[in-house]
């Protein structure tokens, strides 16, 4: 069918198939792209998890011999790179993609083909990074890639860190493209009546994260270019012998790296802010404050980067300034936590799985936040930095925080995405296994760090008092493996056998629950008009004089109008034209890894091939018709 269309419409005609593999490759539907992001991130999560398992096996006992130092350095580097760039960021993107247009009452994102390009660039960037294992040359200088260990052929021969520099560069292109897309979508495509202060908090957090990405990724791009130039062309940005300064890398890296932390955590905070009100049947406490504290975190996140560098020797003035800014970024973070508690307070809390994971998020994130404040006490940080105390801290933020929040989102929106409920029983088993496994794995790391065990070492000797905690951590990792096994089983089995969800299984508040599950390709038969924050909720419920919840009587004026709209629109979908699929975003993205390999292995031919592929993709993208003739579309439909 796709071929037939190509022949009929000439070289630039757009593909018509929406089924099968080609349907997925050419899709520009934000919902299918969201699913692609989610599935791909899950696959990379498996790899990143496997790496963490190897790390824990190696460190289970003193003088471990599961892997050698060469392998260990690659494994721990790729574990970090994977979990940050290939799991948590794209999982956030998966939710942004699927939900953003649904939550603001739009039919798609502003630039559907650019959206597809972002996904393919992310996928090819991830595959490019992982292909380094085939050359036995995975990145081995840590995800932080400190110069000159990363930048100098003398200290680190081999293509390992070239893979790092170019792989992350490609992923950065994907991130910036999608961030611009989301910003434009939020600014321009909100449904009538949806003012900024009527947007769901999740949309707000998407907005903040997108701005952080647009400003942060160019910083790391510059640093990575310098790194690449030092490695490939012998420049001296980080070469001390010729006047370069390795500390410059650290400034650039953390100027990206700290906003990156908020890029990772804010989506999860958005999810929690959606889940808590639904399951406590109360509006989010202090909506405006939650939104503004998110924005404040976004701004302040730019002024704390040097707290990663307290031991570098920046001097007392810089260390004091960054200590203060780091302490005070805890304030808006704390505000969010108190507002979430107040949302639960006085509610009618239904303990369904999405809520359990959101509670898990709050409970674990408190620990990560408090240990974070202790780093701001610079002299304490002189003891803590580069030890397992830090490893404990950021896993409480990124696993106990971000990942618990994202899993909560999976349980919450899975019914909307696939039309079926995940099993509650399995969900609860998953939750408890994950909570216990997580704490067994990461809590003892606080102690280990304070007992003087540094990070990033492939082995440690007997007799340091570290043996018991390390063994407990490894056992905890085993429990986590079980937890994710249960999760995977739940995801797969419920896809076929889960209860049918219906439009609004949770009695929820936001627009995505007004439409069928899974949503039709055009999302809304008719673009809704929004009258309030949590518009859908207000169509279902009113408040009595005491402020208590009262259902709007069935057949009441609002409700009836909504139903009438729906029924009309059931037949009205024919007139809606959605963007046609396209080959070209995937083709343009395919050029990027070729350019990467060409630079890594000094093959000009490969660079040329990649350049031609990318240009051909962009050319076709520019010149293909914006849509096939509607008449032809109808013909194919029949």
């Amino acid at each position: 069918m796709a071929d037939a269309a190509a022949v009929r419409g000439g070289f630039f005609s757009r593909p018509r198939t929406t089924s099968g593999v080609w349907g997925w490759i050419t899709t520009v539907d934000h919902k299918r792209i969201g699913i692609l992001y989610g599935v791909t991130a899950a696959a990379f999560f498996f790899l990143g998890g496997l790496e963490s398992f190897v790390i824990r096996m190696q460190l289970a006992t003193p003088d471990g011999h599961v892997v050698d130092a060469h392998t260990y350095d690659q494994i721990f580097t790729m574990h970090g790179v994977t979990m940050i760039f290939l799991v948590i960021m794209p999982l956030g993107s998966a939710f942004f993609n699927f939900l953003l247009p649904l939550m603001i009452g739009a039919r798609d994102v502003a630039f559907p083909r650019l959206n597809a390009f972002s996904y393919w660039a992310f996928l090819f960037g991830g595959l490019f990074l992982y292909s380094s294992f085939l050359f036995r040359a995975a990145p081995n200088g840590g995800w932080f890639g400190y110069a000159p260990l990363s930048s100098s052929q003398q200290f680190n021969a081999g293509p390992n860190m070239a893979f790092y520099a170019l792989g992350i560069q490609i992923l950065g292109i994907a991130s910036v493209a999608s961030a611009v897309n989301f910003i434009v979508t939020i600014v321009n495509l909100r449904a009538p009546g949806m003012s900024f202060m009527r947007m769901p908090v999740f949309v707000w957090m998407t907005f903040v994260v997108s701005f952080l990405l647009v400003f942060a990724m160019p910083v790391i791009a510059v640093a990575l270019f310098q790194l690449m130039f030092d490695r490939l062309f012998g420049t001296n940005f980080y070469n001390v012998a010729n006047g370069g300064d390795p500390v410059l890398w650290q400034h650039l890296f953390w100027l990206f790296g700290h906003p990156e932390v908020y890029i990772l955590i804010l989506p999860a905070m958005g999810i929690v802010s959606e889940v808590l009100p639904v399951f406590s049947r109360k509006p989010l406490f202090g909506y405006a404050v939650v939104v503004f504290s998110g924005i404040a975190i976004g701004f302040m996140g730019w002024g704390v980067w040097a707290h990663h560098m307290f031991a570098v020797g920046l001097g007392p003035v810089a260390n004091s300034a960054f200590a203060l800014s780091t302490m005070f970024i805890a304030v808006p973070t704390g505000v969010k936590i108190f507002n979430w508690l107040a949302t639960l307070w006085g509610g009618q809390i239904r303990f369904r799985t999405p809520l359990l994971f959101s509670i898990g998020f709050i409970a674990m994130f408190i620990i990560g936040g408090l240990s974070g404040v202790t780093h701001a006490i610079v002299p304490s940080d002189y003891q803590q930095t580069d030890t397992y105390y830090i490893v404990a801290h950021f896993h409480y933020v990124l696993f106990g925080g971000a990942l618990f929040g994202l899993v909560s989102g999976v349980y919450y929106w899975y019914p909307k995405i696939f039309g079926r409920m995940l099993s509650e029983g399995l969900g609860k088993i998953h939750f408890w296994l994950m909570l216990i496994g997580f704490n067994l794995t990461f809590f003892p790391m606080h102690m280990l760090g304070l007992q003087g065990m540094p990070r990033r070492q492939y082995t440690y000797p007997k007799g340091m008092g570290w043996d018991l905690a390390n063994m407990v951590e490894t056992i905890g990792t085993g429990v986590l493996v079980l937890a994710f096994g249960v999760f995977l089983y739940n995801l797969v089995v419920s896809h076929r056998r889960g209860d049918v969800a219906g439009d609004d299984p949770w009695d929820a508040r936001t627009l995505e629950w007004t439409i069928p599950s899974p949503p039709p390709p055009h999302n809304f038969d008719e673009i809704p008009t929004v009258h309030a924050l949590d518009d859908f909720w207000h169509r279902k419920y009113a408040e009595d004089d005491a402020g208590r919840l009262v259902p709007v009587a069935a057949g009441g004026s609002d409700e009836a109008a909504v139903h009438a709209e729906h029924e009309d629109a059931g037949h009205g979908a024919h007139g809606i034209h959605m963007p046609d699929p396209s080959w070209y975003p995937a083709l343009a993205a395919l050029g990027l890894p070729f350019i990467g390999y060409g630079l890594v292995f000094h093959r000009v031919g490969l660079i040329a091939v990649g350049g031609i592929l990318a240009l051909a993709g962009l050319f076709g993208w520019a010149f293909e018709p914006s849509a096939e003739e509607p008449v032809a579309a109808a013909a194919v439909e029949e």
Partner: protein
Amino acid sequence: MRSRGVRGAARLVPALFLAFAACTEGKQSTLSPEGPIARDIFRLSTVPFLLACGVFVVVEGLLVVALFRFRERRGGPAPVQTHGNTRLEIGWTLAPAIMLAFVAVPTVGRIVSLASTPAGALNVKVFGHQWWWDYQYEDSGVRTANELHIPTDRTVVLKMTSVDVIHSFWVPKLAGKQDVVPGRVNQLMIRADKPGNYYGQCAEFCALSHANMRLRVIAQTPAAYENWVASQQKAATAPSSAAASAGQRAFLTGKCVNCHAVEGTDARRVDPEHAQAPDLTHFASRGTFGSATFVRNDENLRRWLRDPPAMKPGSRMPNYVARHELNVDDIDALVAYMQSLQ
């Protein structure tokens, strides 16, 4: 009644903290400082730590109470739709800010005091290498590696730089860590109360043998320290046994002298900036070798000479036996010579 309970609890918490510290005793623990600098840091950390524990108990407690009290009940009243409360929200914005301000003041004070060096300190230059430490004492000119001798009750200022990648010098019981960065000279103060053998290691990832870049600080009474300095200032002793003499010949005619120095022989010392390997003049006065990773004994030394990278991945000293640049028969003699270098 109630206030007594509160006071009891207030007394209990530091006790618990001490118990926690005691059960996490270890050779390299930050929780059992052995000098005034590390102790200051430890004390500075305790107040925020207790505050954090308090906040943890209160906030997690509120969470548990909320979950329990407001769980869904059949036939329960519909929840009141509160949208916010400005006073409450201002309150829980200001409360943490005030608490943090109290933490901030002593923090800044300590940052400044840790950056100012006292008069009369002992100055030592430290050079980080992949993967060992080179020390040069400014006043006495003593040159040694990996095991740093210091007098007790005297502040030692380390002036540190790296000849290759970034390292970080860390002896948790005596001080916090300080990065050792090529192209910069960073200072770190350490000080020990009592004679002892303090463990430390490199804390910044520096590639393959980062885990094997350990170090020791050996604190001695001032008199013992002076004796040590005097012995280190001498040239190496001439070999007294036949085996050691044979070992010295092998040392001086083989590959060893390309990188290692033994004062008093033709293998002369070079500047720390250009040193390739630890100075061996008084090798046998150290308890360990391989960057304080292995106990110095005949068996370990034989293993080392047969295949250094097998013991220490990435070691700059290659497997000379496999390269046919070191005769296996010479190993015993070399070990005898090394062990004679008091």
